[in-house]
């Protein structure tokens, strides 16, 4: 007969397993329902690509050196765009109530929603990665660092998107406009187009508050072997941002349902 402690541990593992399974089900549902569609995938690739071209053309930088920045903004735009679209739609058709009333924690719901944005954006970011390898033969110095950098950056911005989608509206445009007031400035202050060292001191100080700074820095390190911060510091800061966004999202979803 299992002891009380073993019984508690078993119940805890069963609970965690259920929560992970439910989060995965939410994520899979989102992918089938909203993201694995040709037009969404093409838009996910084209929007960051053209945005990047608009700022990169005329800089006379070798194409290969631009790939890390392109990957960083692709991750930013694709990961953070997912939940601000799907959650207001789900509110409108009342399927979001189904998720809110399911026997899962709010953390699992937020995690499951973010997971779909994370997977979608990783898939999309493979496009500039492959372009860099095939067309420009861009060397990657540290492949494992690149994998970690892309995963953390993607999850960080997916959670940011879930956080903004907590705003209680059924209108996708409302969430997107709020999100864009944050993420568009991020691409200018995070060293993607202008190196941080070339920015004025105030710009460099503000850059420290942007998660894209650390994601971009780590991706650049994976490609070139040089970076502003240590990759370990980048990882730590990105994890802190993920936790802040996750807990803030959890709090906001709870508050807005009161």
């Amino acid at each position: 007969m299992p002891s009380t402690e073993e019984g508690k541990a078993g119940a805890w593992f069963a609970r965690v397993s259920h929560e992970i399974s439910a989060a995965w089900a939410i994520s899979r549902k989102d992918m089938i329902t909203y993201y694995i569609k040709p037009n969404i995938i093409v838009m996910g690739i084209l929007f960051p690509f053209f945005m990047f071209l608009a700022f990169a053309i005329g800089k006379n930088a070798p194409p290969g050196t631009l790939i890390p920045g392109l990957i960083a903004i692709t991750l930013l735009f694709s990961a953070s765009s997912i939940e601000p679209v799907s959650i207001p739609i789900e509110r409108r058709v009342k399927t979001f109530d189904r998720l809110l009333s399911a026997p899962i924690s709010l953390h699992s719901l937020v995690f499951g929603e973010s997971l779909s944005g994370f997977l979608y954006s990783l898939g999309i970011a493979c496009f500039p990665l492959i372009v860099g390898i095939i067309l420009f033969a861009t060397p990657i110095e540290h492949v494992p660092v690149l994998v970690i950098a892309m995963a953390l950056t993607a999850f960080c911005f997916a959670t940011l998107g879930t956080l903004f989608a907590a705003y209680p509206t059924e209108n996708v445009g409302e969430v997107m406009s709020m999100l864009n007031t944050v993420r568009l400035p991020l691409i200018f202050i995070s060293g993607v187009f202008i190196p941080l060292s070339a920015m004025p001191q105030i710009g460099q100080d503000i850059a420290l508050l942007s998660p894209l700074t650390y994601g971009n820095d780590m991706i650049a390190y994976a490609y070139t072997g040089t970076s502003l911060f240590s990759p370990l510091l980048d990882i730590l800061v990105l994890v802190i941002f993920i936790l802040i966004f996750q807990f803030a999202a959890n709090r906001l979803y709870k508050r807005f349902n009161e």
Partner: protein, 318 residues
């Protein structure tokens, strides 16, 4: 232990009090109707009982689990069918069922068995691999209810289950609900169809402006307003002025037209029957049928909520 126990539940939205010190309990295996006009607090109550919203004060327990502090355990025993058919249009019927089962922690083997069984019951199995966006309103409603039953709930929240449906869907849904009631499932039914509540519910609560106006068995509620008796009469000819004419007969408090019949409300049925016969004789009409009815649950509802009946419909009094 009660299936649902609500104690001093109050919910405020700013200055608006949506629920004010609401108390009631639902026994295990009971079918409990929750009736009230729009804005009475029905949806707020359901949102609190299902853990979507939180009360300003007071408590609610589901099979002894506090919905605020032991939310997941409380939700595991319930199935929820919301007023809107909230299914995923881009998923197939089968994917919708499996997704719902995954949310409710139903094991892999069990979920497939249960999904197949429920889709068959609701006459949707043949269409299981079709995306839901091609389904009719009735099919979507049936799928919504099937999704609410996938975890074999002990307590089922049904919000307007048959509202605006075709006859086939209506019959299937009512049969399934009746079967669940016989199996001992506790049902919390919100409906605008008062006759449905009258036929299905062991007890009903009538809620108005955030308060419970009455809770009792439908028959006992009807006895509280014996004065609201009525006569239903039909004539061989119907004219435009007839409604006004029968309404002005002696001892008639009100009259409405129900199809080709007139329903006359009175406290003195015997006198009204005499008046109706006299009216028919003077107008050279033949009475096809005439019967006396006791008060209906709808009468109780109207009396307790302060609504008004005009032209067969129920309206709020401004």
């Amino acid at each position: 232990m009660h299936a649902i126990e609500v104690s001093h539940l109050t919910k405020k939205f700013g200055a608006l009090t949506a629920l004010n010190d609401v108390n009631f309990s639902v026994d295990v295996g009971e079918t409990f109707g929750f009736l009230g006009p729009n804005g009475a607090g029905k949806t707020t109550t359901i949102r609190i009982l299902t853990g979507i919203s939180y009360p300003t004060s007071g408590t609610a327990t589901i099979f002894g689990h506090d919905i605020g502090s032991d939310t997941i355990a409380a939700r595991l025993s319930m199935g929820i069918v919301s007023e809107t058919s909230n299914v995923y249009d881009d998923l197939t019927a089968w994917q919708n069922m499996i997704f719902s089962a995954e949310l409710y922690h139903v094991g892999r083997v069990e979920r497939e068995k249960k999904a197949a069984e429920l889709l068959t019951t609701f006459d949707l199995y043949e269409r299981r691999n079709d995306k839901v966006h091609g389904f009719s309103k009735g099919m979507k409603r049936r799928l919504t209810i099937a999704m609410g039953l996938v975890n074999s709930p002990r307590l089922l929240f049904l919000d307007e289950p048959t509202s605006g449906l075709d006859v086939q869907s209506n019959l299937i849904i009512r049969d399934v609900i009746t079967g669940l009631i016989h199996e001992g499932v506790t049902v919390f039914l919100t409906t605008h169809n008062i006759e449905e509540a009258n036929l299905m519910c062991d007890r009903v609560a009538i809620v108005n402006r955030g308060h419970i106006a009455a809770i009792d068995a439908p028959e006992r509620l009807k006895k509280t307003i014996q004065s609201a008796q009525s006569i239903v009469v039909s004539f061989d000819r119907v004219s435009a002025r007839q409604l006004e004419e029968v309404r002005s007969l002696p001892m008639v408090n009100d009259a409405i037209k129900e199809g080709d019949k007139f329903r006359l409300y009175t406290e003195d049925p015997a006198t009204v029957i005499e008046s109706v016969m006299e009216y028919a004789r003077t107008r050279n009409l033949r009475v096809i049928s005439i019967s006396t009815l006791g008060p209906s649950l709808e009468d109780v509802f109207i009396k307790l909520t302060g609504l008004q009946r005009t032209g067969g419909a129920i309206h709020a009094i401004d």
